[in-house]
């Protein structure tokens, strides 16, 4: 019986492992916390696996456990304040200042900036507010729809939409500030 439960759990888990680990590494405030967070989330999810209804959304179910474990670990570390989500029913209109030259470089040759800015991109994401970072990463790494993200984070869908718009804007502004350096590196390198 136990073997069967473990087998079924692993079968569901296997296709998600890379995404779960990626999300955990980018969300956990300390890299040292990753093994414990992952183990804690797996232990809780496995304990409750009998409650999981076959055929429903296992990825969202599993990410919910991981997210709560990360949130608890980050709270314990007290390095990052976890603010209460603010519901915004209508998503913020977003008009990036795309006419500025600095943004044109980022838009027209994004690989020039991104290829040189791996750590900076991670830094830009880490600098986001908790909800913005969670939404951005659940969307990018977990590949979830707005509705699923709202369920995982237990926030209204309007909050998901506005947080995603703000997260995208903040990450792009962060990258745009690095664009001149990337441009000059490219010119020097030919």
């Amino acid at each position: 019986m136990r073997e069967d439960k473990a087998e079924r759990f692993l079968e569901h888990l296997k296709p998600l492992q890379r995404k779960l680990e990626g999300y955990c590494r980018r969300m956990a405030y300390s890299a040292d916390a990753v093994p414990d967070v992952l183990q804690g989330a797996l232990a809780n999810a496995y304990r409750d696996f009998d409650l999981y209804a076959e055929g429903t959304n296992f990825p969202a179910w599993m990410f919910g456990y991981l997210h709560r474990e990360i949130q608890n670990a980050n709270r314990r570390l007290r390095k990052h304040a976890v603010g209460e989500p603010v519901d915004v029913a209508i998503p913020d209109a977003w008009h990036p200042p795309h006419e500025l030259p600095i943004h044109r470089l980022l838009l027209e040759a994004p690989e020039v900036v991104l290829d040189r800015c791996d750590a900076d991109l991670a830094g830009g994401v880490r600098g986001l507010r908790h909800l913005e970072r969670s939404v951005l990463l659940l969307h990018a790494v977990g590949e979830f729809k707005y509705r699923e993200i709202a369920e995982i984070l237990e926030v209204p869908i309007g909050s998901v939409m506005s947080a995603l718009a703000r997260a995208r804007q903040n990450v792009r502004e962060h990258l745009a500030s690095l664009a001149p350096a990337a441009d000059s590196t490219q010119k020097r390198g030919g």
Binding site: H95, A140, K145, L164, R172, L175
Partner: protein, 260 residues
Amino acid sequence: MTCSEARQHWHLYQDSEGDARLHLEIEDHLAGCPACAEWFHLQSRLEGLIVEKLAEPSYDSALWGRALAGAGVKRGRPARAWFWLVGVTATAAAVLLVIGVLNGVRPTRTADLADVSATWHDRLQSGAEPVQFASTSDREVEAYLKDRVPFPVRCPPRKDAGFAVRGAGVREVEGRPAAYLSGSVGDVPVSILVLPRDSLAAFPSQRDGLRQRGVMHSPAGPYAMVLREFDRNAIVVVGRADPPALERVVNAYGSYPDHN
């Protein structure tokens, strides 16, 4: 719809969220407004690259082994197993080295997505490879693929884009899972391959070409091929149809909101 309204809804369009009417209105606007079409292309390309960076695979098997054992899902493996593993790996490496020396060093082959697509289209059309799931319903095909590939897939292009779907299935391309759609444009058989975007790493010439242009045309044996990136996917449309007709099909992929 004005330019400002279209750009305000870029997030929903990019993420295939919102209702079908909004998507159709944006599509209509983009078809008649080259400035917005270019703006959408640049925004989507940047977003795709950021997502690609953020979603780079992360997998540490030792970490998972410990976490699963610690969580009580798997029993821990005895340490002695490592000695066996190292021994077996070393022996296998030695055997491969000897085979390599005996056979001489072969040049590394660079895969070509046009060849892969043309061969696959041929096999589907000749019946050498039966279509795994036969259906003329966009929704059924979408649901079938979503349950079978580990990456996001979108609703197939529909008849308003000139494509009539006849079936779908899953296969491997360069060792990675890919979805395919079989159908026609008019009376001409056309196949669509949908790959996870990072699969393009195995096809450097196409990947580099796409970085320069939003949509790439190329001959594929006796067929024409059109390639485009959309969100997390690379989409290949291949067949004997006119390239503009194939481009309409490739551009329609992902422009319909999800059904789930």
